[in-house]
Amino acid sequence: MVPLTHYLIFSAVLFSIGVLGVLIRRNAIVVFMCVEIMLNAVNVSLIAFDRYLNQHDGQIFSFMVMCVAAAEVSVGLAIVIALFRNKATVNLDEINLMKW
Protein backbone atom coordinates (compact mmCIF):
# COMPACT_ATOMS: atom_id res chain seq x y z
CA MET A 1 0.00 0.00 0.00
CA VAL A 2 1.05 3.56 -0.65
CA PRO A 3 1.40 5.55 2.56
CA LEU A 4 -0.68 8.71 2.72
CA THR A 5 2.48 10.74 3.09
CA HIS A 6 3.47 9.92 -0.47
CA TYR A 7 0.23 11.26 -1.82
CA LEU A 8 0.63 14.39 0.24
CA ILE A 9 4.16 14.95 -0.96
CA PHE A 10 3.06 14.32 -4.52
CA SER A 11 0.32 16.86 -4.08
CA ALA A 12 2.70 19.36 -2.48
CA VAL A 13 5.15 18.97 -5.36
CA LEU A 14 2.44 19.57 -7.93
CA PHE A 15 1.19 22.55 -5.96
CA SER A 16 4.67 24.03 -5.83
CA ILE A 17 5.12 23.54 -9.57
CA GLY A 18 1.90 25.42 -10.04
CA VAL A 19 3.08 28.23 -7.82
CA LEU A 20 6.38 28.33 -9.65
CA GLY A 21 4.57 28.57 -12.95
CA VAL A 22 2.47 31.47 -11.75
CA LEU A 23 5.58 33.25 -10.63
CA ILE A 24 7.71 32.85 -13.73
CA ARG A 25 5.37 32.74 -16.71
CA ARG A 26 4.33 35.89 -18.48
CA ASN A 27 1.54 34.56 -20.63
CA ALA A 28 -1.72 35.14 -18.78
CA ILE A 29 -3.27 31.95 -20.14
CA VAL A 30 -0.35 29.80 -19.11
CA VAL A 31 -0.35 31.43 -15.69
CA PHE A 32 -3.95 30.47 -15.47
CA MET A 33 -3.12 26.89 -16.43
CA CYS A 34 -0.63 26.85 -13.59
CA VAL A 35 -3.40 27.88 -11.23
CA GLU A 36 -5.30 24.86 -12.53
CA ILE A 37 -2.32 22.69 -11.64
CA MET A 38 -2.55 24.04 -8.11
CA LEU A 39 -6.24 23.20 -7.88
CA ASN A 40 -5.58 19.71 -9.20
CA ALA A 41 -2.86 19.23 -6.64
CA VAL A 42 -5.32 20.10 -3.92
CA ASN A 43 -7.76 17.58 -5.34
CA VAL A 44 -5.16 14.85 -4.96
CA SER A 45 -4.76 15.68 -1.28
CA LEU A 46 -8.50 15.81 -0.75
CA ILE A 47 -9.13 12.45 -2.29
CA ALA A 48 -6.16 10.87 -0.58
CA PHE A 49 -7.35 12.12 2.78
CA ASP A 50 -10.78 10.69 1.98
CA ARG A 51 -9.42 7.31 1.22
CA TYR A 52 -7.46 7.20 4.43
CA LEU A 53 -10.27 8.55 6.57
CA ASN A 54 -12.87 6.36 4.91
CA GLN A 55 -15.15 9.31 4.22
CA HIS A 56 -16.74 11.02 1.26
CA ASP A 57 -16.56 14.64 2.35
CA GLY A 58 -13.31 15.19 0.53
CA GLN A 59 -14.64 13.80 -2.71
CA ILE A 60 -17.61 16.11 -2.51
CA PHE A 61 -15.21 18.92 -1.82
CA SER A 62 -13.10 18.10 -4.85
CA PHE A 63 -16.29 17.79 -6.89
CA MET A 64 -17.05 21.36 -5.86
CA VAL A 65 -13.49 22.35 -6.68
CA MET A 66 -13.97 21.08 -10.21
CA CYS A 67 -17.20 22.96 -10.48
CA VAL A 68 -15.50 26.13 -9.26
CA ALA A 69 -12.61 25.56 -11.61
CA ALA A 70 -14.97 25.30 -14.55
CA ALA A 71 -16.70 28.52 -13.54
CA GLU A 72 -13.40 30.27 -13.01
CA VAL A 73 -12.10 29.17 -16.38
CA SER A 74 -15.11 30.53 -18.19
CA VAL A 75 -14.89 33.89 -16.45
CA GLY A 76 -11.12 34.06 -16.63
CA LEU A 77 -10.93 33.35 -20.31
CA ALA A 78 -13.68 35.87 -20.91
CA ILE A 79 -11.57 38.45 -19.11
CA VAL A 80 -8.54 37.52 -21.20
CA ILE A 81 -10.57 37.90 -24.36
CA ALA A 82 -11.93 41.26 -23.28
CA LEU A 83 -8.44 42.47 -22.52
CA PHE A 84 -7.05 41.08 -25.77
CA ARG A 85 -9.65 43.00 -27.73
CA ASN A 86 -8.38 46.27 -26.31
CA LYS A 87 -4.71 45.64 -25.97
CA ALA A 88 -3.84 42.70 -28.24
CA THR A 89 -1.54 41.16 -25.69
CA VAL A 90 -1.69 38.61 -22.94
CA ASN A 91 1.79 39.37 -21.68
CA LEU A 92 1.43 40.15 -18.00
CA ASP A 93 4.51 42.35 -17.92
CA GLU A 94 2.93 44.66 -20.44
CA ILE A 95 -0.24 44.91 -18.43
CA ASN A 96 0.84 47.52 -15.96
CA LEU A 97 -1.08 50.60 -16.77
CA MET A 98 -1.88 51.07 -13.12
CA LYS A 99 0.93 51.19 -10.63
CA TRP A 100 2.39 53.26 -7.80
Binding site: I24, N27, N40, H56, D57, E72, V75, L77, I81
Partner: protein, 168 residues
Protein backbone atom coordinates in the same frame (compact mmCIF):
# COMPACT_ATOMS: atom_id res chain seq x y z
CA UNK B 1 2.08 -3.48 -6.00
CA UNK B 2 0.20 -0.20 -5.77
CA UNK B 3 3.51 1.55 -5.34
CA UNK B 4 4.54 0.26 -8.75
CA UNK B 5 1.54 1.97 -10.29
CA UNK B 6 1.67 5.09 -8.15
CA UNK B 7 5.27 6.06 -8.75
CA UNK B 8 5.23 5.99 -12.55
CA UNK B 9 1.93 7.83 -12.58
CA UNK B 10 3.16 10.43 -10.13
CA UNK B 11 6.43 10.83 -12.00
CA UNK B 12 4.69 11.32 -15.31
CA UNK B 13 2.28 13.81 -13.80
CA UNK B 14 5.07 15.83 -12.24
CA UNK B 15 7.08 15.85 -15.45
CA UNK B 16 4.06 16.91 -17.45
CA UNK B 17 3.32 19.63 -14.92
CA UNK B 18 6.88 20.87 -15.32
CA UNK B 19 6.39 20.84 -19.09
CA UNK B 20 3.31 23.00 -18.63
CA UNK B 21 5.46 25.54 -16.87
CA UNK B 22 8.47 25.39 -19.15
CA UNK B 23 6.87 24.86 -22.52
CA UNK B 24 7.34 27.71 -24.94
CA UNK B 25 4.05 27.48 -26.73
CA UNK B 26 0.74 27.82 -24.94
CA UNK B 27 -0.73 25.00 -26.96
CA UNK B 28 2.05 22.75 -25.81
CA UNK B 29 1.39 23.75 -22.25
CA UNK B 30 -2.27 22.97 -22.66
CA UNK B 31 -1.57 19.57 -24.10
CA UNK B 32 0.80 18.76 -21.27
CA UNK B 33 -1.82 19.92 -18.80
CA UNK B 34 -4.31 17.49 -20.30
CA UNK B 35 -1.74 14.75 -19.94
CA UNK B 36 -1.18 15.66 -16.33
CA UNK B 37 -4.89 15.58 -15.66
CA UNK B 38 -5.18 12.15 -17.15
CA UNK B 39 -2.32 11.05 -14.92
CA UNK B 40 -4.15 12.43 -11.94
CA UNK B 41 -7.27 10.56 -12.97
CA UNK B 42 -5.14 7.43 -12.74
CA UNK B 43 -4.05 8.38 -9.25
CA UNK B 44 -7.70 8.91 -8.30
CA UNK B 45 -8.54 5.43 -9.47
CA UNK B 46 -5.69 4.15 -7.36
CA UNK B 47 -7.36 5.87 -4.44
CA UNK B 48 -10.64 4.14 -5.33
CA UNK B 49 -12.30 7.42 -6.20
CA UNK B 50 -13.76 6.15 -9.42
CA UNK B 51 -16.45 8.74 -9.81
CA UNK B 52 -14.03 11.59 -9.33
CA UNK B 53 -11.62 9.99 -11.77
CA UNK B 54 -14.29 9.97 -14.45
CA UNK B 55 -15.21 13.56 -13.64
CA UNK B 56 -11.57 14.54 -13.82
CA UNK B 57 -11.41 13.25 -17.36
CA UNK B 58 -14.79 14.54 -18.52
CA UNK B 59 -14.91 17.91 -16.86
CA UNK B 60 -11.30 18.84 -16.48
CA UNK B 61 -9.48 17.22 -19.32
CA UNK B 62 -12.52 17.44 -21.51
CA UNK B 63 -14.50 20.57 -21.03
CA UNK B 64 -12.13 22.90 -19.26
CA UNK B 65 -9.09 22.17 -21.36
CA UNK B 66 -11.04 22.38 -24.56
CA UNK B 67 -12.04 25.85 -23.54
CA UNK B 68 -8.40 26.71 -22.97
CA UNK B 69 -7.44 25.38 -26.38
CA UNK B 70 -10.30 27.23 -27.96
CA UNK B 71 -9.25 30.55 -26.47
CA UNK B 72 -5.62 30.06 -27.37
CA UNK B 73 -6.62 29.36 -30.95
CA UNK B 74 -9.08 32.23 -30.96
CA UNK B 75 -6.48 34.72 -29.83
CA UNK B 76 -4.00 33.11 -32.20
CA UNK B 77 -1.17 33.36 -29.72
CA UNK B 78 2.20 32.96 -31.38
CA UNK B 79 5.29 31.58 -29.77
CA UNK B 80 7.25 34.77 -29.97
CA UNK B 81 4.70 36.62 -27.92
CA UNK B 82 4.75 34.06 -25.19
CA UNK B 83 8.37 33.13 -24.92
CA UNK B 84 9.55 33.32 -21.37
CA UNK B 85 13.02 33.91 -20.16
CA UNK B 86 14.61 34.86 -16.90
CA UNK B 87 14.33 38.59 -16.78
CA UNK B 88 17.67 40.24 -17.10
CA UNK B 89 17.30 42.74 -14.31
CA UNK B 90 15.48 40.68 -11.79
CA UNK B 91 17.78 37.73 -11.44
CA UNK B 92 17.89 38.37 -7.75
CA UNK B 93 14.13 38.19 -7.43
CA UNK B 94 13.91 35.09 -9.51
CA UNK B 95 16.58 33.30 -7.55
CA UNK B 96 14.88 34.39 -4.33
CA UNK B 97 11.73 32.84 -5.68
CA UNK B 98 13.58 29.65 -6.41
CA UNK B 99 14.99 29.51 -2.92
CA UNK B 100 11.57 30.15 -1.47
CA UNK B 101 9.99 27.41 -3.52
CA UNK B 102 12.66 24.95 -2.51
CA UNK B 103 12.23 26.07 1.07
CA UNK B 104 8.50 25.66 1.03
CA UNK B 105 8.78 22.26 -0.60
CA UNK B 106 11.30 21.14 1.95
CA UNK B 107 9.13 22.37 4.76
CA UNK B 108 6.01 20.80 3.37
CA UNK B 109 7.75 17.46 3.12
CA UNK B 110 9.27 17.90 6.53
CA UNK B 111 5.95 18.80 8.00
CA UNK B 112 3.77 16.21 6.35
CA UNK B 113 5.90 13.14 6.96
CA UNK B 114 4.90 13.13 10.57
CA UNK B 115 1.23 12.21 10.46
CA UNK B 116 -0.97 9.66 12.01
CA UNK B 117 -2.15 8.12 8.77
CA UNK B 118 0.49 5.56 7.99
CA UNK B 119 -1.81 2.98 6.57
CA UNK B 120 -5.13 3.42 4.86
CA UNK B 121 -8.38 2.45 6.51
CA UNK B 122 -10.08 -0.61 5.12
CA UNK B 123 -12.86 0.76 3.02
CA UNK B 124 -16.07 -0.87 1.88
CA UNK B 125 -16.24 -2.17 -1.66
CA UNK B 126 -18.56 0.53 -2.88
CA UNK B 127 -16.20 3.32 -1.73
CA UNK B 128 -16.02 6.10 -4.27
CA UNK B 129 -18.69 4.74 -6.56
CA UNK B 130 -21.22 6.98 -8.23
CA UNK B 131 -23.90 5.62 -5.95
CA UNK B 132 -22.20 6.41 -2.68
CA UNK B 133 -20.82 9.76 -3.72
CA UNK B 134 -24.13 10.69 -5.27
CA UNK B 135 -25.98 9.78 -2.13
CA UNK B 136 -23.69 11.92 -0.05
CA UNK B 137 -24.06 14.72 -2.54
CA UNK B 138 -27.82 14.72 -2.37
CA UNK B 139 -28.24 14.18 1.34
CA UNK B 140 -25.50 15.61 3.52
CA UNK B 141 -24.21 17.99 0.93
CA UNK B 142 -27.34 19.03 -0.84
CA UNK B 143 -26.85 22.66 0.16
CA UNK B 144 -23.38 23.04 -1.41
CA UNK B 145 -24.71 21.27 -4.48
CA UNK B 146 -27.52 23.77 -4.85
CA UNK B 147 -25.27 26.70 -4.08
CA UNK B 148 -22.94 25.52 -6.82
CA UNK B 149 -25.77 26.10 -9.26
CA UNK B 150 -25.84 29.77 -8.29
CA UNK B 151 -22.11 29.88 -8.80
CA UNK B 152 -22.36 28.43 -12.28
CA UNK B 153 -25.20 30.72 -13.25
CA UNK B 154 -23.28 33.76 -12.05
CA UNK B 155 -20.20 32.61 -13.92
CA UNK B 156 -22.22 32.09 -17.07
CA UNK B 157 -23.73 35.56 -16.90
CA UNK B 158 -20.33 37.03 -16.16
CA UNK B 159 -18.59 35.26 -19.01
CA UNK B 160 -21.27 36.34 -21.45
CA UNK B 161 -21.13 39.94 -20.30
CA UNK B 162 -17.40 40.12 -20.74
CA UNK B 163 -16.83 38.10 -23.84
CA UNK B 164 -19.72 38.89 -26.11
CA UNK B 165 -18.91 41.01 -29.11
CA UNK B 166 -18.92 44.75 -28.80
CA UNK B 167 -22.12 45.47 -30.68
CA UNK B 168 -25.02 45.40 -28.30
Amino acid sequence: MELLIFYPLALVSVILALFVVFNKSPIGSAVCLIGMMLGLAGVFILLQAHFLAILQIIVYAGAIMVLFMFVIMLLNLKDDDTKWKIRERNIFLSSATGVLIVGILYKIIDVTTDTKFDSPATVPDNFGTVEVVGTALFTDFVLPFEVASILLLAAMVGAVVLAKSKVD
